[in-house]
Symmetry: C2
Subunit: 460 residues, 2 copies
């Protein structure tokens, strides 16, 4: 293979090129997964069909946990159990918006997680528009007080998904900025890259300020509102959002193990999150991630008992504050965990492997990179993130790796009603399982110790 794998259409050719090759166990498992894994697809299909949306802290998440325990046991994992935690749970209510004047029409929006509520009958106020979060920050409070703030901060797609960090503050911080200036409510242009009438929800954070009503408009609606603001001196909106906090309820992490032969070699943690936002069925976010990691662990398990114990964790609350991962880290940080990796960026093809080992881990990283090369995965450098659920372990010095998925279309669907099964490409999903299986086999069976990673000097 002289070129990276670019599209799912290339997969049959790849299989052909590999036919008869792969004398090593990792390579054999990789090729078998690439050709025929069904475990991951079945998890995604069944979870989205039989449970669907599973907002953290709700009875739907509880049903998902029951489903998960049953499935992980059926797959042959050991020590399958739930580790519970409690969380402050927020649920969506009514959500409508109409332009009252001068151009009456409805706009499509969705409350952001943590949003405050309007009165049940809604509120009516003038809209004041800003092109970016910086413009809102620079505005005097007088321009904002008592008004509905609109922020039209436009996100663009990137393969590496880095736009989520760069553009993300418009969702995470703009509502609090507007609240501190006395805004009546805030509506943002969705943090997303598609042009469908499907708004992108997601968590917003308030710090010390009391929550105000906060929602995201779909991109067509946001651009319509921008046009109205350009052509009229005063635009008035009627907004109704009635979400509420329902108090402390249960979330939980579902844990399953592949026991290793050598307890002194340490434990590997992999996984994704079982909860999802409430608008879609959580296929790409993150049924795919729990499916990919479990399918890889099962493939390694079936090839023979590995040296290290592999622990698959399907985390509870990730989306609405991270109660699941926080509880897990607090309870287990004293254990001998030697490697972590997380899958939480959809199901499109993996294009990059970023190893995060101590210097002595270079031979292991080399073996993994060589096993991933036939899948069209290049070796990258830089800081490993692991993700929201396992990142705390990396920060604490545990070795890890990122298998970066193509994010070009991820933010077309992320946190929208459109996050449904049909957005998952079976061929690319299998490439994910193949890559995870190869990496996991090498890490689980490495004969050398896997050392902690010395802290890097702080970036300037």
């Amino acid at each position: 293979m002289s070129k990276p794998l670019r599209t799912a259409a290339a997969l049959p050719f790849l299989l052909f090129a590999l036919a008869g090759a792969a004398p090593d166990p990792a390579g054999r498992l990789r090729d078998a997964a690439l050709e025929g894994d069904k475990v991951a697809w079945d998890i995604v299909e069944d979870l989205t069909t039989e449970v669907g949306p599973r907002l953290a802290g709700t009875e739907a998440e509880a049903r998902a946990r029951d489903w998960a325990v049953k499935r992980l046991k059926a797959l042959g994992f050991r020590n399958v159990h739930v580790e519970g935690a409690t969380m402050a749970t927020w649920v969506r209510g009514a959500e409508t918006a109409e332009i009252v004047a001068p151009f009456p029409q409805r706009l499509v929006l969705a409350a952001l997680g943590g949003s405050g509520a309007t009165p049940p009958e809604g509120l009516t106020a003038e809209v004041v528009g800003f092109d970016s979060l910086d413009d809102l920050k620079a505005a005097p409070a007088d321009a904002v007080r008592g008004r509905i703030v609109f922020v039209g901060h436009a996100m663009r797609p990137n393969q590496d998904g880095s736009g989520y960090g760069y553009y993300g503050p418009v969702r995470r911080s703009a509502p609090a900025v507007a609240a501190r200036k006395g805004a009546a409510a805030v509506v943002i242009r969705s943090l997303g890259t598609d042009y469908h009438r499907n708004p992108h929800t997601g968590l917003t954070t308030w710090g010390e300020v009391a929550p105000i009503p906060a929602a995201a408009l779909s991109l067509p609606d946001a651009e319509n509102l921008q046009r109205m603001l350009k052509r009229a001196p005063k635009v008035t909106m009627h907004l109704t959002l009635t979400p509420r906090f329902v108090g402390d309820t249960a979330t939980g992490n579902v844990v399953a193990e592949v026991p290793g032969t050598d307890p002194s070699a340490g434990t590997i943690l992999i996984g994704g999150h079982l909860d999802s936002w409430d608008l879609g069925t959580g296929a790409i976010d993150d049924a795919a991630g729990v499916a990919i990691t479990a399918a890889a662990a099962k493939a390694v398990m079936e090839a023979g008992r590995p040296r290290r114990t592999i622990r698959v964790i399907w985390f509870g609350d990730e989306e609405t504050g991270g109660a699941g991962s926080k509880a897990y880290f607090a309870a287990h940080k004293g254990e001998n965990v030697v490697f972590v990796a997380e899958s939480d960026f959809g199901a499109d093809r993996i294009w990059r492997f970023v190893p995060g080992f101590a210097p002595a881990g270079k031979p292991l990283a080399d073996r993994i990179a060589a096993a991933l090369f036939p899948l069209g995965i290049n070796r990258g450098t830089g800081e490993v993130e692991a993700g929201a659920d396992l990142g705390a372990w990396v920060k604490a010095g545990v070795a890890g790796a990122d298998l970066s998925q193509d994010g070009t279309r991820y933010f077309d669907y992320h946190h929208t009603p459109d996050d449904t099964l049909d957005k998952v490409d079976p061929a690319q999903l299998r490439q994910n399982v193949a890559a995870w299986t190869a990496m996991l086999w090498h890490v689980a069976n490495a004969r050398e110790d896997i050392a902690r990673v010395p802290a890097a000097p702080a970036a300037p």
Copy 2:
């Protein structure tokens, strides 16, 4: 130009190829429109922004008429006026659906135009699924009675849009078929080709049977329901639909003219429909059509007074029963109308010209075809349809023509919340205006008479 124009990206090259050409008036007007028409875009942008959705018979359609009169006068047309009609008007209410058992989750749907209502609190019933309308027709009434019927009839995209006729009965007829067998309600897979959580509404017809609640599921929801029906012996749904008929209200056709020099040469009718479904802002259906035809008429007008009067009609109610066109034909069928053409299939490029003249009209058809060739438009044969608003004139023997637009992506957006401005490609919209302008100039200025078309022998 040796190849047809395939994409909007090819337009700059086309312009380059034409530079300095076009000694004839139609060619000059065509090239000017292709390069720089702004009239059509402004109509689409302004109508969707300043009025938005404009369901026939509602106050929104009345605002659209006021807007239209103002705009057509500002463009310089003569004799701008409204011809009113009355219609039985249907409006949407609440619409929600949840699977109660065995896999509780919400499904996204929209009531079909003319749907009956459930009680305000909804109804709960078992779902019985059919893969096609024919399967539903073949089912015994016992299998349907008291149940919610689901029909999973799948539409596929075609360039010529012919799938709307072939697959359309699932929306137009399945609800009545289910009602006659005693169904409690009916939900169909949307008559559409996209995979977004945006259902496709549209008219359903009941004949003599009393309306029952009838709605369309988005494609992801329809496929989710199909999976549920495959894996569970009994699926129960709670459905709430509260649309209602509000009685007789006003619709109206907005008419504008370019007066001709020779009243004996007859009148040309062109246009599209001003009303839209209520879910989107009606950009492609049919702000584009009223915009394209008006922009072409204005271009011909500005080149000098034509021989024939051009009458631009922005029809009232097309979507919910056709009260607009019926009233117009009834009032004007005695006039000397010699040619009709309609634009009601979005704003993507025109790929085919189908002339519908009497045999003596061949030289005129040849001149039009030659003027359209540089735009990448091939000459087709077959029956001219004109469309829902002007088709009655063709059936009555008036000459006409179809400028067929590319429909490959039309049914991704048709009758959904996603029918918004961003779906219109400005370059392809200009190609439409260019084609219409060239055709209209030739028809309006033809020195020969334009004869009535003898009836074709009936098809077998």
